[in-house]
């Protein structure tokens, strides 16, 4: 015999309306009650596919507060742009919320009352659990976690292309300027970098791996990390920075040290934010289709499917290849 909402209500000792709201993740009841009802439904073997799902109307776009800084804005605002565009086409209202690990996130989310969550960038596992426990569809952009759908740029290939390009330019001491390896994207870019060194038979010198100081924003952090690299007895002749913001700040340190790019040191970034082309010299980088990341994220959260990887493209500018060359 099939289990009905009425059976669950009787068993859980609540009204039919409460059961319905609990199973559809609608507001209007205590979180404790919701858990209780869902546990009862699961025990009785209720087929939740029978629920008439409310059409997805509201989507919350979540960004970790550590990403919501000026340095990260060029990247994530482009992603948000793609999210907004996809939502507009689908007739969904997006809202934006930046969250931190000590925030009362569940309460904040209740104000937004979203039907689905789209989370961009890094989040601590605890925060991801809060998202999971809402019971709403969740997708990740530029992050990876067990049991959640995600879309990412091809970080590993990008890291590989960056370092391969530097090797082909004849660079011998190629540094990697890293951020926190808690970030999936940075781990993957680092791995691509090392793979390219390995494939060329170059030993990875640990001195050439610098990291922005933990907890510090990328702006001062990348500058300091670059200074450390430049103060080595044998400094690098090239640096691959984990993203463009880090690369642009590393370039400041290079200029302040009186060195010339690309003659003394070549620099590659990642993301191709708008500022990359405007830098002096213009920055070689990996182009990521940021708007498409946003659109693909909306598509994932609406229609599911498997994890996705978007291709990246090496964009060569003057920071690695001197334009002002003189021909014979």
């Amino acid at each position: 015999m099939t289990v009905t909402v009425r059976d669950i209500a009787r068993e859980a000792g609540v009204s039919i309306g409460t059961v319905s709201r609990a199973l559809k993740n609608q507001p209007g009841l205590a979180e404790e009650t919701r858990r209780h009802v869902r546990a009862v439904a699961e025990r009785l073997g209720y087929d939740s596919g029978k629920l008439q799902r409310r059409k997805l109307r509201k989507l919350a776009f979540l960004l970790h507060r550590q990403h919501n800084t000026l340095a990260n804005t060029p990247f994530f605002s482009a992603v948000l742009h793609g999210v907004e565009e996809a939502c507009r086409i689908e007739g969904i209202v997006p809202s934006f919320l930046s969250v931190g690990p000590t925030d009362p996130v569940a309460d904040q989310l209740r104000l937004h009352d979203p039907d689905a969550l789209l989370c961009a960038g890094f989040f601590e596992p605890e925060l991801l659990n809060v998202f999971r426990e809402t019971g709403k569809p969740v997708a990740l952009i530029d992050h990876l976690a067990d049991g959640l759908l995600s879309v990412n740029p091809d970080n590993q290939s990008g890291g590989y292309l960056a370092t391969q390009h530097l090797i082909r330019q004849g660079r011998k001491r190629i540094a990697f300027l890293s951020g926190s390896l808690a970030h999936y994207s940075i781990r993957e870019r680092f791995r691509g970098h090392r793979q390219a060194l390995f494939d060329s038979g170059i030993l990875a010198d640990p001195h050439l791996e610098a990291m922005t100081p933990p907890g510090m924003d990328v702006e001062p952090g990348a500058y300091i990390a670059m200074q450390q690299l430049l103060s080595l007895d044998r400094p690098p002749d090239a640096v691959f920075a984990f993203n463009d913001s880090a690369a642009l700040n590393a370039m400041r340190a290079i200029i302040d040290a009186g060195l010339s790019m690309p003659r003394d040191i070549a620099v590659v970034g990642f993301d191709d934010i708008a500022q990359a082309a405007l830098a002096h010299p213009p920055l070689t980088t990996l182009r990521v289709d940021k708007e498409e990341l946003g659109r693909a994220g909306v598509d994932l959260v609406l229609h599911g499917g498997g994890n996705r990887t978007l291709p990246v493209e090496l964009v060569i500018r003057d920071s690695t290849v001197a334009t002002q060359r003189v021909s014979a």
Partner: protein, 394 residues
């Protein structure tokens, strides 16, 4: 006579030319009216040519940068939108050469894919991006990729010219014109994105046309070639008025190349660029300046004979731009004299002092052929573009 080297004169002249087209040629249902009589009357409201559509993007992008976004960003976006609305075929990636647009209803008139057209699409998106329209970034790269896939021939280091609408066949004709405008577009794409690949391509095209191909045709660039890039001396010999592929050497293209070589040199200091620019300009003026009636003739043949004695507006415009670039580059006052001489002629005969903008074609003795000031493809992109170029070197 005004002082043609005065910045304010050039700015005023651009403004006046712009006002001939703006806002009267805006079609609220999409795109612009492309066909204007001397007094600005629209004489064909529905035919839309890719060359006009793209050049309008250039005109408004430059207007945004020089005269402000308040007045010109909306029409710039309007112009850019029409490249997709009116011309792009999403199925093939190509941009239709000619369409009709009637109150928002689009019909295909000629879907042929021209490399010349794609060069102007690339130029349009590059200038839109330089004017701050971020949405131009993706189609800019897509257009380069499309040219690469469909027209670029690495064995020749040049672009093929024309293909059927569905890309099933590329025609055997090869020409320098599409490659010249591709070079111009690559320089703009480089300035907009700072991506080295665009500059590399501009250099390759410039080298292969102005040196390699020129060496095959008496030191100057012939217009037409067979598919292996050997010179086709006979192409359109009987059709001397063919608008995009006229027979003969084109002095206007020699001077236009001179200008492009000097723009290329700003980004890449190759030692052959300035001398070659000088040669090409000097040759063009020596062979085609009309000592009797003034102005530069349209075409000359292999025996230095003037094969088309008409005067075209764009030839004069590109030539004064090249003269100014050379004057600034070489410091040789002779080029400022040439600049003034060409302007003086154009000011007397080409500029419409009553309604604005330039007439298009005059007879050898400077009489008008028709009252069609701007048919398909004109929109005074050459004249305003030339003035902007001079502003950059003054």
């Amino acid at each position: 006579m005004p002082n043609f080297r005065d910045r304010q004169f050039l700015i005023d002249h651009i403004r006046k030319t712009l006002t001939f087209y703006h806002p009267r040629s805006i079609d609220p249902s999409g795109g612009f009216y492309h066909f204007l009589k001397d007094d600005g009357t629209v004489y064909d409201a529905t035919t839309r040519h890719l060359v006009s559509s793209t050049r309008l993007v250039f005109n408004y992008a430059m207007a945004c940068r020089h005269f402000g976004h308040a007045a010109y960003e909306a029409p710039l976006r309007h112009a850019m939108a029409f490249l997709e609305q009116g011309h792009l075929d999403p199925a093939t990636g190509g941009y239709a050469w000619v369409v009709t647009w009637d109150e928002g209803k689009r019909a295909l008139l000629d879907g042929t894919n021209h490399c010349y057209g794609l060069a102007f699409v690339l130029l349009a998106y590059s200038h839109a991006l330089m004017a701050g329209i971020e949405e131009a970034r993706a189609p800019l790269a897509q257009t380069y990729d499309l040219m690469e896939k469909r027209f670029f021939e690495p064995q020749h280091g040049l672009y093929a010219d024309e293909a059927t609408p569905d890309w099933s066949m590329t025609y055997p004709y090869r020409g320098q014109n599409a490659n010249m405008h591709a070079c111009e577009a690559m320089l703009a794409a480089y300035e907009a994105t700072k991506e080295t690949r665009y500059l590399d391509r501009a250099e390759l095209l410039a080298h292969n046309i102005t040196r390699r191909q020129a060496a095959r045709a008496g030191g100057m660039m012939w217009e037409h070639y067979y598919s292996d890039w050997s010179v086709d001396w006979e192409y359109n010999r009987q059709d001397k008025t063919n608008i995009f592929r006229p027979w003969g050497y084109q002095p206007g293209h020699l001077t236009e190349w001179a200008k492009l070589l000097l723009i290329l040199e700003r980004h890449r200091k190759l030692d052959w660029l300035a001398p070659r620019a000088k040669e090409l300009f000097d040759l063009a003026l020596a062979k085609a300046w009309d000592k009797q009636n003034g102005g530069i003739f349209y075409g000359f043949g292999p025996e230095d004979e003037i094969c088309d004695a008409d005067k075209y507006f764009w030839v004069q415009a590109e030539s004064f731009a090249a003269a100014a670039c050379l004057a600034q580059r070489t410091g040789d006052a002779r080029y400022w004299e040439q600049y003034d001489r060409i302007w003086d002629y154009a000011w007397r005969h080409f500029v419409d002092h009553e309604h604005g903008a330039w007439y298009r074609i005059l007879t050898h003795d400077n009489k008008k052929y028709s009252d069609e000031k701007s048919p398909a493809g004109k929109v005074d992109y050459h004249t305003m573009g030339a003035c902007y170029e001079v502003l950059g070197v003054l």
